[in-house]
Amino acid sequence: MPGLLDQFGEFMQRDRSVHPDAYTPGYKTSVLRSPRNALISLQNSLSEITGPQFSPDELGPLDNDLIMNYAKDGLPIGERIVVHGYVLDELGRPVPNALVEVWQANAGGRYRHKKDQYIAPIDPNFGGCGRMLTDQNGYYFYRTIKPGPYPWRNRINDWRPAHIHYAISGDGWAQRLVTQLYFEGDPLIAQCPILQSIDNEEAVRGLIAQLDRSAFIQLDSLAYRFDIVLRGRRATLFENRVQGGGK
């Protein structure tokens, strides 16, 4: 059954050129938190090609609605937006049942976190996190308030562009990914040391959500489109063959 083998093959090697290096001194915290040794490459075993599975009954009905999932006595303040897109693998195949978790600041750039001391106020009706599973086509969507930019102690006057954090759990452990979504046209994107940790311009463009007029909701919400690509599985054409050079 080639289909089945294809479904469960090893993952293609991670192309490190699209990712930031571990040591990127412009982003100061990376200096003491990056390994000095090279990573040791591991051919996939069952430990890497399998991964946790999630089911819809673990999620609540408002988990993908950040406008309503923490509303206490009214609606949160800010720009109402829908974010949607597909989770695909490198071969363009949909990744169904992927767990997509998102978190963000409120409209003023303030996080609901006990360690955040920024002067901009908490919004009593906004929590700032959500989660969802992709459908059979790899499609996901959620509704939220567009986050504001945020100052941080890197250089003394550094500001993050508006962004939404993502964590994606695909089908296999080797696909696990955290990243950040940015918004089309934001002039802070070009100045951000965290984004500049990525050398590859095309890879940076891939993190910028595009305004999506076709998905606007009239008199209600703007929309942004953001697709995510996870590592692809190689086809296993010959299984359990004895391999040369193996220990």
Binding site: D21, G172, V178
Partner: protein
């Protein structure tokens, strides 16, 4: 589709990684961030009351290159059940599946002490490449502020000396002195089995990290 070149051998580029940042808890562990929002939360407890296997606690700290504990780290683990089978359809070993055990959990370090813990069971041995058994191990994924792309490592068990000596992955590490950075030390505290696994991101005792 946007920025995607479609041709006969269409190959898309993996989405670039970015740091999880200091407020990763908001999204992945909101209770640790200081608020309650979801009805069901993902936690550091992997074993239910019906789960088969020896109950263990995994406990440790993550240190930066200055030896300071990283107090805003988030760690996830992925492991096989007590029989050595993963709860995933790609695992076609003929071993019993334990439906009470997903094999996955996440933990945050304590904001003061930097200590993280998991409540789980000791995994069995899993068949590796070319039919060679791998010693019992737990797969870890580490993200935090300052870490641009999640770090992958493995934890092995100090009381599995014989299996560890034959493990194909440990043997792949040609610097023998570095292998010990992946061995968690077993102890017993009030009848509870604890494996201590400290992780050094950088420096003389730097933990081995894998490109998986």
């Amino acid at each position: 589709m946007r920025h995607m070149k479609i041709n006969q051998f269409s190959e898309l580029k993996e989405t670039a990684s970015q740091t999880a940042g200091p407020y990763v808890h908001i999204g992945l562990a909101p209770k640790a961030a200081g608020f309650d929002i979801f009805e069901k939360n993902f936690t550091n407890v992997l074993a239910g009351s019906d789960t088969q296997g020896e109950r263990i606690r995994i406990e440790g700290r993550v240190f930066d290159g200055s030896g300071t504990p990283v107090r805003d780290v988030l760690i996830e683990i992925w492991q096989a059940n007590a029989a050595g089978k993963y709860n995933h359809p790609a695992d076609r070993q003929e071993k019993p599946l334990d439906t009470t055990f997903r094999g996955w959990g996440r933990a945050c370090s304590d904001f003061e002490s930097g200590v993280y813990t998991f409540e789980t069971i000791k995994p069995g041995s899993v068949i590796g490449r070319n039919g060679r058994p791998m010693a019992p191990h737990v797969n870890l994924w580490i993200v935090a502020r300052g870490i641009n792309i999640g770090l992958n490592t493995r934890m092995y068990f100090s009381d599995e000396t014989e299996a560890n000596a034959k493990d194909p992955v440990l043997n792949l590490i040609e610097w023998e002195v570095r292998r010990k950075t992946l061995i968690a030390q077993r102890s017993e505290e009030n009848g509870q089995v604890v494996y201590r696994f400290d992780i050094n991101l950088q420096g003389p005792e730097e933990t081995v990290f894998f490109d998986i």
